[in-house]
Symmetry: C2
DNA sequence: GTCTATATCCAGATAGAC
DNA sequence: GTCTATCTGGATATAGAC
């Protein structure tokens, strides 16, 4: 009996995962409000009514997705922070990986779009607004600290570390938004151009 | 009689302008779908029914706004193109002005947000989609050409001019999106950091 | 021109059959 | 668990009074 219960739990969770994926596709394409419950159900291959056995409302799915997206972003920034290298190298490596991810991971682009959408609308569930207030500043703070450490070390350009962090993330976000709707293969990004904003000459050579 | 007719025309247009401004405020805050006709009418200080004497639908207002926004962006890029200076100086000057505008003009931020919103949603009127397809590439092409000219001149860094143009606009757009919801005065932008992505050392000194 | 009141439609959420 | 059918609320757009 216990096993059957466990199996059910697992099946239920995998079904919810399927619904979340379907919802993410629709939300990034159409936005929260233009997406109908029916659209999500159709994308997930189930009837509209059945969706309510897994989520009690459209908003609840949205909040779940936002929470996931924010946690992923925070986790990624922590993995950069905890690297066993110099601050300058952390910035260089992070940009290299982020650009590569922008070019190859649709999931990453979707995550960026969802967060941007949520951050730029007052018409989202209050729970989502709270999560954003709570979690969104972490990646900015992480990069700000690395920038400050890099300046002490002499590998990062002068200027307010907070500003450098804002430039770092807004460049990445701007690119992600652009590539999410222009997945044209005719533009190949070179992360070193962006890196040259932050790293002083000596570092650029690497 | 002719004068009265003319006056009426003018009053009608100024009323429509008022409605457009109200709609822009609501669209950038809530998005096209979450915004109700009622919200626009309230913001414009008129009754809901009256709005239909000026616009026949919410979509029609949206299309009008998108068209304006795209035309403004194109006009701005042409004014940079037609400057009587070197390509390197054009890039430097354009960035200086754009950063200043991001910091001080709410209207500019709203324009960027509206275009970003429209570009990133399939759930907008087809007329708006057509306008975007038609007009959106112009600013990219203008900057691309300046970058290429600057490379010949020896003031712009190496790399695909198309990529440089994409980096130029996505940086600006990313910043505009960030500042439209974080109008914190505690971060002062320095355009020279961004300029250092594109201009080679000799130019940076300016 | 401007308002209030209303008809119509459509999406979210629920109920009930299988 | 899964579906179809239905209730309900709310927004768009229209009609009609002033």
């Amino acid at each position: 009996m216990a096993r059957s219960k466990e199996q059910n739990e697992r099946m239920r969770e995998s079904r919810k995962e399927k619904i979340r994926n379907a919802a993410l596709q629709q939300f990034v394409k159409q936005g929260l409000f233009a997406t109908r419950i029916q659209d999500i159900a159709a994308e997930a291959g189930i009837a509209q009514g059945l969706l309510y056995h897994y989520y009690s409302s459209k908003d609840e799915i949205f909040v779940d997705l936002i929470n996931d997206a924010l946690d992923k972003t925070i986790a990624a920034s922590y993995s950069v922070r905890d690297m066993a290298t110099s601050p300058g190298e952390k910035i260089r490596y992070a940009l290299e990986k982020l650009i590569e991810t922008i070019e190859h991971s649709q999931t990453f682009l979707d995550t960026c779009r969802l967060i941007t959408q949520a951050t730029n609308s007052t018409a989202i569930p209050v729970e989502a607004q709270d999560l954003i207030r709570e979690k969104r500043s972490t990646p900015y703070q992480v990069i700000e600290q690395i920038m400050a450490a890099g300046q002490k070390e002499g590998t990062i350009v002068a200027g307010d570390p907070k500003m450098l962090s804002v430039l770092f993330w807004t460049s990445i976000n701007g690119l992600a938004i652009y590539f999410s709707t222009n997945n044209n293969q005719d533009v190949k990004l070179d992360y070193r151009v962006i890196a040259s904003m932050f790293l002083i000459e000596r570092e650029k050579e690497k």
